[in-house]
Symmetry: C2
Subunit: 404 residues, 2 copies
């Protein structure tokens, strides 16, 4: 059966073809602007889904005219499938063309797509956890004894999540050199990125229930790119014994586009292999990850290509762990993978790793670099195999502003 | 000047007199119930503030008829003072009596008073941190090197916060005995309480700004009781290196009543003394805490009286720390003190401490006890000195339900 073709000019065969169709929240630029509502990216354009619903599917306007994806998320997996099928029909049957409003990407402002309830950040890359463990705890085991028995994670600050393109102010805080008697205070001198993949929870799950690994696809709506900015100096001083706090809570950037899991069916791959017997709730017949690549671009130079397929824990296992104690889920909760690092030196998703803790500068744009300088621009580009070429999962962009 | 007297029967001179006036969110019990709205506790009654606003102050109905305190919080400190002054007038001038609706406490259902954005849990008691450090890390220093330089804290799960009276299901999870090769899975066997004081943020503060210690009283609306239930076995296995997660995220109980800071003016006391030079943003002319006592009642027996006045870090310092890196605040954010423990053996705010890590049972209701059993009821009673006797700050009640 031939794959469907879209009537949208230049979109057919692009990374944002009708096999992809990520959701975002947009408003039109210009005098006064208009109300933010749901849009779907197709090629270099955005289908105004809020307007389409008003015109063609009034019963779906509460889901598609909100300034956030949360009502659509909360509608559940059956509705997600219906909306996606409808959007594909709209964009492949040219009879609909005259009734729809397509906006240029340069005509819209993209807003944070999801009002995030709770944000949990995992630590699911064995390569990353090993690299960081060696740098931060050179005298101890790189991985803590629990690491292969459960997906280690912690709660991050939901209120600091911002949309791609937002400038990131260098945080100020305490740090202490190992040999110093007392901490000093000032702008972070070891500001870093963490290239991660985020999972947007759709279905609410009541307090006291659990989500089995097999419930992953009916609970998670889709994925987003995440840059979990990290101030390594602040983090190193504060994190014992209760974990990272101010070293992370100043900013987390999320892509403007949320790609539904339905678009990633051909990107599913087994995780590399789990070599420890797991307790029952984490057992998955064949734990599945995604063959998603994150290109890490610093001031225009790609400095790493981080392979999500190399992650140790599957997203279904992270979700099962998150809820095994009875914690509830809300539509709009977000959990992220932790930094994506592969086994090779050009597959590392943080500058901490790319520069060996700041001791071995790497080259970017002709300059020798370790941590982030003011004015640096970081762009994470996410892509995955699709039915006919690679699909785009949006980007996560941020420029470092000087400390206040 | 004589203190004002209320016309509400039996309220004058009670712990919920017109000097107190905590806010909650209530609905009326009975056929169908009605919409949740803001109420104020006076004696053993609740003033229906939503109804009063509709009748007497229609411009305030958006603040007082919502099913959460968030609109009132977001209105800011000038409005908080106006609303409080109005409520005092209503309750002291008998001319208003016929226009107001008073409900019996037994006629209403109390709802979670605040939709919590982010929840940060600190670790501000030197006695508690020392006791726990000795139990969990017997071979290391009880306090980490950072402890006296910054208020250590981490993010908890906002979506698991429930109102006083909600049953708490025993969580299930992984634990590992020190001598075991591998973890086991099952219901927690070391289920504990943490008696804490919570601070409800009123004013939103944009991303990138800081809140100075001197901004505390115009930023925080009031206090609430918090029981940060903790599964010590799950926590001990999971918490290295990223801090507590599932050992805490299953449930946190909040009092139904939020006491405005304005009611606690006479309860302010200096903190016991800080013996380390602090970096500038944490310096407070005289760090102030609150003389609030938490009675910890287990199955009807008071097993501890934890003194908030013994806490090392002031709430203004915690707030300044929370935002020094530019993290934003939203109306409805919550931060808690961490377990309140004093220097004496009957002033400990967790069973972990009361039972020396489960090794030295204590007596409650004639029984020898360590951690929580199914069916146990824990009630935390909060009180503070007021202008004419002690004022009540509500209670935090929870009964342990067996694991699923």
């Amino acid at each position: 059966m031939p794959l469907p073709r879209t009537w949208v000019r230049d979109a057919d065969g692009s990374p944002y073809d009708v096999d992809n169709l990520p959701y975002g929240v947009v408003s039109t630029r210009g005098t006064g602007g208009d109300a933010a509502r749901v849009g779907v990216r197709i090629g270099d354009r955005v289908l105004d889904l809020g307007a389409a619903a008003r015109e063609l599917r009034p019963e779906w306007t509460p889901l598609l005219t909100a300034p956030e994806l949360n009502p659509l998320l909360a509608a559940g997996p059956a509705r997600w499938a219906e909306v996606r099928a409808w959007v594909r029909t709209l964009l492949t049957d040219v009879a609909h063309a005259s009734k729809l409003r397509l906006l240029g990407l340069d005509e819209v402002t993209c807003h944070l797509p999801v009002r995030v309830g709770d944000y949990v950040d995992f630590y699911a890359s064995e390569h990353h956890a090993t690299n960081i463990g060696r740098i931060l705890r050179p005298d101890g085991a790189a991985l803590a004894p629990n690491w292969k028995h459960l997906p280690v994670g912690y709660h991050g600050r939901a209120g600091s999540i911002v949309v791609s393109g937002t400038g990131v102010r260098r945080p100020t805080g305490q740090r202490k050199a190992p040999e110093a008697d007392a901490p000093t205070f000032g702008p972070s001198t070891r500001l870093d990125i963490e290239a991660e993949l985020g999972f947007v929870v759709g279905r609410s799950v009541p307090w006291g229930e659990r989500v089995a690994v097999s419930d992953f696809e009916r609970t998670v709506f889709g994925v987003a790119g995440i840059n979990d900015w990290s101030a390594r100096d602040i983090q190193a001083w504060e994190y014992v014994p209760l974990g990272p706090h101010l070293g992370k809570s100043f900013a987390t950037t999320m892509s403007a586009w949320v790609t539904p899991l339905a678009a990633l069916a051909v990107a599913r791959v087994p995780v590399p292999g789990q070599d420890v017997a797991l307790v029952e709730y984490l057992r998955e017949d064949e734990p599945q990850g995604y063959d998603i690549t994150v290109e890490v671009e610093l001031n225009g130079t790609v400095v790493a290509r981080a392979p999500y397929r190399s992650m140790y824990w599957s997203p279904a296992q992270m979700l099962a762990h998150l809820t095994v104690n009875g914690a509830s889920l809300r539509a709009g909760d977000l959990y992220a993978s932790g930094t994506i690092s592969g086994p090779e030196p050009d597959q590392l998703g943080s500058l901490m790793e790319l520069s060996a803790g700041g001791t071995r500068p790497f080259t970017a744009g002709g300059a020798q670099r370790t941590f982030l300088a003011d004015g640096d621009e970081v762009v994470l580009h996410y892509s995955a195999p699709g039915a006919r070429g690679r699909i785009g999962l949006g980007e996560v962009r941020g420029t470092i502003l000087p400390a206040r």
